[in-house]
Structures are given as structure tokens and as C-alpha cells.
Symmetry: C2
Subunit: 274 residues, 2 copies
């Protein structure tokens, strides 16, 4: 039996992947096995992997609400669009939460030409005198099938080389999706730092988000696109910001009705209390 991936590719259906998805989402083995059985029974020829994922999430939601919330993070990260600008802002918040100094710089003049750099970040690693300075390129994709590819790593390295005089220590490629094999191979070879979905395994973007509960507001079920835009325009990207700012201030800033804001804040509380 064949299913259709987000990229449009046709692949053989593999029930084991359902179990793995559940385990990755934080389900225990018994629950993962149960969902594998239940979902497999519903899969039909030509079904999209998105539809299958929906079935998994619905079951996780019913059988283990906490695991389900965590799993929706992937889709929440894909909803930080349509342009890559919000994802950049989100990454500035995340880097700061991990003790980096981070900002979006104006155009930086290199040896040959001016470069639009997404983020400049610096950190003083523990026990080190000199701080490390990173030149960061953010690649935002709005579909899970699109991997950040070799081209992005090549471009970034050429920019880094052209900006040598600015004193950057490493280039850093950050994406909300996965990296292609050749992008990883090239990055390893050229000392380009990578951060993306499930990469690197021990300190992946999802782990960094979960460890400090830096969930984007797009994880909230009660949030639609119009509400998201209103909040984004006021630089509110994280669910935790809803709690720290409160109903009154948010209502004044965004014009969103108080009852709607209360609903969002209630949901954010639930997720952040987990």
C-alpha cells in the first residue's frame, strides 16, 4: 500500500513509522503500539501522510492530552509564516532565552558586497574568556516536506567568507524543517552550525523549545490566522507572552476582544503548566 508524502512523493506505507511518531511525541511504548494498531486499520491506498498524522494526533489527544500538545509543536512551527520574518523574531527570543545576545542587524558590508543577515548572536561560553560570534541565516519553510538544502549552506558560507573582517567565528544555519544529507555533510566539513527540526539529536530546535517551554502562539488551538497576525504585529510570538502581558494590555495593544484573549490565555496556561 502506498501513501503520499507532503512533498508529493509516493512511498510504501510503513506502520512502524506511526509507532515512531508516537514515541517521538513522548508517548510510552504501550500507547505507541496501541495507536499504531488503531491508525493502521484506517489507512487506505493513496492517503496523504498529513491525513495519517491527523489521525495520530487526534488519537494522542484523546488518549494522552499532554503528549498531543507537544506533538502539535511541529505544525505550530510551520505556521509562523507566510514570510520568514516571524520565524526570525521567534529565533531571537529563543536565543536570548539560552543566554545569547541576539539581534537582527542592518545590512552588513562585506569585502565585496552588502549582506542581509538574519541574526547576529554572541555568547561567552562557560569558562572561556573570548565570546563567540555567530552569523545566522534562518530558513523558514511552510511545509514539512521541504528540507533546507545544500544551496542554503553554500550561500551562507560564501556570505560568511565575504564578511570575514566583521569577526564572526561561525556561520549558523537555522531551519524549522529538516536538513538534506548533503547540507549536513557540507556543514560538518565547513564548521557551519546547524539547528533544525530534530537536528542535532541532543539539542534540536524542538528540544530547545520544549526544555524552556518557548512555544509559539501558533500552538494554541483557539488561534486563527487573523488573531495570529494581530499578535505578531505587536511582537507577541510566544505563548508565555500572553501570560506575562495579561488581558488588559493585550486588548489595548491588539484590539482583540477580551473574552477571546481570556480563552487564549487559559489555553496557554494549560500548555505551559504541563
Amino acid at each position: 500500500m502506498y501513501i503520499i508524502k507532503a512533498s508529493g512523493q509516493k512511498v510504501k506505507f510503513n506502520p512502524l513509522k506511526i509507532r515512531k511518531t508516537c514515541l517521538r511525541a513522548g508517548a510510552d511504548r504501550a500507547l505507541a503500539l496501541k495507536i499504531e494498531r488503531l491508525v493502521s486499520a484506517q489507512v487506505r491506498e493513496g492517503m496523504s501522510s498529513k491525513r495519517i498524522l491527523r489521525l495520530i494526533i487526534d488519537l494522542l489527544g484523546k488518549l494522552s492530552p499532554l503528549t498531543s500538545t507537544r506533538y502539535t509543536l511541529k505544525r505550530a512551527m510551520l505556521s509562523l509564516g507566510p514570510s520568514g520574518f516571524i520565524f526570525e523574531k521567534f529565533m531571537v527570543f529563543l536565543l536570548r532565552a539560552y543566554n545569547y545576545q541576539a539581534y537582527c542587524p542592518p545590512i552588513l558590508m562585506g569585502h565585496c558586497v552588502g549582506h542581509e543577515i538574519d541574526i547576529v548572536a554572541t555568547i561567552s561560553p562557560f569558562g572561556q574568556k573570548k565570546e563567540e560570534k555567530y552569523l545566522i541565516e534562518c530558513k523558514y519553510h511552510n511545509a514539512p516536506g521541504i528540507k533546507t538544502d545544500l544551496k542554503d549552506a553554500l550561500c551562507l558560507w560564501a556570505s560568511f567568507e565575504d564578511l570575514r573582517e566583521k569577526g564572526f567565528d561561525y556561520p549558523w544555519l537555522i531551519s524549522n524543517t529538516k536538513f538534506s544529507k548533503s547540507a549536513i555533510q557540507y556543514a560538518d566539513c565547513r564548521n557551519i552550525k546547524l539547528l533544525g527540526w530534530q537536528y542535532p539529536a541532543d539539542k534540536s530546535l524542538n528540544r530547545l523549545v520544549e526544555n524552556k517551554k518557548l512555544y509559539p502562539i501558533t500552538i494554541l488551538k483557539h488561534l486563527d490566522k487573523i488573531l495570529a497576525e494581530k499578535l505578531f504585529s505587536q511582537n507577541i510570538i510566544l505563548a508565555s507572552q500572553l501570560l506575562s502581558q495579561g488581558t488588559e494590555k493585550l486588548n489595548f495593544k491588539t484590539g482583540i476582544a477580551k473574552n477571546k484573549l481570556n480563552e487564549l490565555i487559559k489555553e496557554a496556561k494549560l500548555i505551559l503548566q504541563d
Copy 2:
């Protein structure tokens, strides 16, 4: 009065541009001035630059058929899609016509990673012993408003650097559209050769095509998409190939009806005889 460019940008209508378009297409000053007056009288607020170009081409066609044929080259080059593969093949033909040895190589292993290089070309410049070897990236766009940008030049340079051991002398970026200012600035600085629409002025892609009449088959008015695909699939890219192969052979190879082929060949003859 404002008109809309192919990129969607709104710009002030400038009648002088009509005259320049005509001159660039090869019309003499008197004809250019005449067309400027006739077309300007028809331009209305919000009209697309494409529509205005169509008016110019129609008038050129009526008043000076030879000039008109030449001008449709731009659109013919934009129709070598939908993928960039046919444009690459076209460029191999063109390079060979200018005494380069050119071919599409398999994946080339660099210092870090394998690279998909579009074309490798070599030439022995007149009076020089050593031949020059170029690593070529072709950027095909199917709309005139899209310029080949800095990113493409950066990526190419990083690939070139990674392939240093393969003995390439220069990277070469070839596009069927124009280059952005920063792409040109970076290319000048890094010794990247550029070839594109009207660039460089003295040896631009359009000049190289016109000088040796290497018109793509998409310049023929009687060619539709289905016929183009049939011919492309048999590696027939240039109008001159229709003449050199002839009706019988083309009919056998492509299955296109003989009367249709005769019509195309007749048109190709007219253009190539100019």
C-alpha cells in the same frame, strides 16, 4: 500615468522607454519615434508593461517584420521551461557554436560534498597555450521580472571554492534574465563571469544568439507547447536544427504531422535568412 511591470511593481509611464525598446530591437530612429507616438496614444492607466510590449511588437511586425522577429527572442528565451533543463541544453549548443567544449557533467565531488554542476566548458583562448576551464551554473526564469540575484552568485562561488581541486579557472553564472546590482557587484569582485539578458552589453546572451542566429525553436509563432515538448524530447532546441534535419527525419523522430513540420520549417527559414 502609472503602468504595472512584470514583477507587479507600479512605475510611472515613460514614452522614451518605448523608443529605446524599438532601438534595442534594431529599428532605426525614424521608426522608433513613430512607434513611440503610436503606442503612447494607446497606453492607459494601470496597463501592464507586457501589454505595452505586445503593442510595440505588433507595430514592429507590421512596419518592419525583420526587427519584430528579433524582438520576440526575449519571450522565446523565457519559454524554454518549465524546468531549467532545456535552457541548459540550449546553452551547451550556444557555447559549442562559440568554440567552447561544453557538456553537462555527472555529480562532481568537491572537498566537502558532491555538486550538481550544470555545464563544464573549456576553451583555448587565441594565442594562449593553456585552456581555460569554466564551472557554469544556469539560472532559468520563466518571467522577465525575476532577476538572477546575489544568492545565486554566492552559492556558485562556494561550489567553485569546494571544487578547487578540479582545476576550474572561473565560475560562470548564465541566466536568461537580468542580474541584480548586488549580483553584478559580487561577481566583479570575485571574478565570476556573468552572461545574461543584455549583459554584458557588448557580449550579452541576446547578442551571442543573434550574431550566429542560434534562435531557439520557441521563437516560431506556429509552435505551441505540445509541439515544443515533442521537439525538446528529441534534443531539438534550435530553429536551425529543423532545417538541418528536414521533414522526413523530424516526422520519424517526433511523430509530428508533416504539414505541421513544413509550416515550422518554412517559418524557421524566413527567420534564419534575415
